[in-house]
Amino acid sequence: MDPELAERLTRHGTWLDDAAPPLAPRPAADPGEAAEHEGVRVVDIGALTPPAAGRRRGAFVAAALLAAAAIVAVALVVRTPTGGSGTDDGSTGQSTGLELDGRHGDVLVVAESTLAAGDLTLAADAQGLADLWSSLTTTAPPPAIDFATSVVLAMTVVGNSCVPSLGRLERTDGPTYTPAFATAATSCLDLAVIRTFVVRVDRSAIEPHFVLRLPAYLRWYDEQRLEVDLGAGEATGRLLTPAPVRQGVPTTAASELSDPPGPATDARSTVAGLWMRSEPDVVDATGPLPGADGFRLSFIPDEGGPLVLQSPCGTYVAQHFEVIDGRLTIGPWIVKPAEECASITLDERTNRLQALLGERPRFTIAGDELSLGEGFDFQRGTTMPIDPQATVPTMAELRGRTFRALGGIALDQEDATVTFGDQLTVTTRCSETTIDATIVDGRLRTGAVRRKVTVGRKCNDAAPLTTLIAWPRLSLQGATLQVALDDFATTTVEVGITPTSTEPTSRP
């Protein structure tokens, strides 16, 4: 075959793969991030039984889950909630470290806690241990520790319904100790659970100066490092990294625009009065594009993409984009065509659907404006001002920053409802998940989870499969229950419990 034709066909094949990505329930993430997702995406194989005839889409989701679960189960080295790695049998070869089986220390307790995910704590005396213990849900009293010979370390991580084991602290040069979690579980609910592992370590087994390290975990926390000094004076632990942010709290200054809450929407079947809001409401960088009817662009400052452009005929999603030194870099676009749109008239020109879907929008940054680029030729030169109050104060602060779009991808705000009555129910366009959830003494307790997937062609077109199967993640911050709806944590619905609640919720 002619080399030029062969090359063009190869390129076209690549483009087709990009336009129709694999039917696998994997998040569309960076390669590095995907590995993390594989580690936490554990599904209940036992629950996947062949569905009744005629429920094809449900079967498809189940089939996708099943295939991915089996594939992951076969191929995956078990990864831990913190991103560290271990093995099913706990064997760790020749690596060095502290064995927590009594030889160098032991695990005192593993309990849910109110500490922030990523928190590292040193307790070198009884008071420190008591303070630490008060953050745990355990009702057992703190154990008696001889702090002359031992110190206590606590690591707070995010996991799912399965509790991993902590058998050792791996040692690397520095010295630095990193917890090595392991789990052999294969059936876990992917509800985010904050757990604190409290361990006792013999002073004789550990250096006077060391660093306790917790690897970064997805979007929950960056790598955490606690510098511990057990020298002659009072033992101290000092975080070398920015303290982790409590679960559910926005991690950027711009995200803090979520307060005060927006206007209330009607709540359905609620015990407490609710208001509901999706984060795009608090993002002033979301809005219509002037001169382009029906087009909306949304993003907010955060640590990564995506950027979402909604058009009457489809939604364009770039999972990642960033602005560095005023230069905008956008990752590959994913196009989600609208269901019913054969043509659209813009600027007195009729663009066929294929033209709309074939052209990916491109943007440029000029001053404080984000402009649609030349590649998007049917709307050449359209710009959307970036509100400096809402996004970043000055252009200078754009530098080195990345942005994340919220909402508008698959779970538009009108497509996701959350009700909190006897149970908490999250209803999306494609699924309904019911969780036995109660708030007791300011703490959220979750129980059984049931979900019904109502899948159809519209769902499949509109949402990545991961969205259809993702479990809502719940967190309670004060009087606000936060429900993260998808695997990218890019669509978040906050449910605030108003003062008019008929069943007041006590606060921690």
Binding site: M1, D2, P3, E4, L5, A6, R8, L9, T10, R11, H12, G13, W15, L16, D17, D18, A19, A20, P21, P22, L23, I45, L48, P50, P51, A53, R55, R56, R57, A59, F60, A62, A63, A64, L66, A67, A69, A70, I71, V74, T329, I330, G331, P332, W333, V335, P337, R352, L353, Q354, A355, L357, G358, E359, R360, R362, G375, R457, N460, D461
Partner: protein
């Protein structure tokens, strides 16, 4: 080729791993990215619903290709989209517009054959299995498809 043994879930997972890409690509070549991908999902769903039957088939992927085609007929087919601009900000490859038009002019089987073999690098035997035809038939489709593409795109025979 039948499905290997093992439990239903293991066998289905193995089948998925081995055939999802080929089935999806074949249906995408036939129907375009949106409907082709949806049809592949339909076909794989159907496979799970009827797994006991599917796993005993001599050529399950070929059968599912037809299941996907049937499922797609229930929906309005979309035109094949125009290739996108490169994601790195480079200009779109204008020649691909011509390629799309040329591909669209081919018969479905010619288009699927040429895309599977020359765009996705499957062997002629693998393409034949998806299309549930003989390898010699695929060869004929390829010859005709390439000839049509050369003529439409006005490229010379590189041989």
């Amino acid at each position: 080729m039948g499905v290997q043994g093992g439990s239903d879930s293991e066998a289905y997972a193995a089948f998925w791993r081995a055939n999802e890409a080929r089935l999806r690509r074949a249906l995408v070549a036939h129907l375009g990215p949106v409907d082709g991908r949806a049809a592949a999902g339909d076909a794989l769903s159907w496979a799970w619903e009827h797994w006991s039957d599917v796993r005993s088939m001599a050529n399950p992927v070929g059968y599912l290709y037809r299941v996907g085609q049937t499922a797609a007929r229930k929906h309005q087919p979309r035109p094949l989209p125009v290739p996108a601009a490169a994601s790195d900000g480079q200009d779109p490859a204008d020649g691909d517009l011509d390629l799309i038009e040329a591909l669209r002019a081919l018969s479905d089987q010619q288009r699927v054959a040429v895309l599977l073999v020359h765009a996705h690098r499957y062997s002629q035997r693998e393409a034949a299995e998806v299309l549930d035809v003989a390898v010699s038939t695929v060869r004929v489709h390829l010859d005709r498809a390439v000839r049509h593409l050369r003529a439409a795109l006005e490229v010379s025979d590189g041989s």
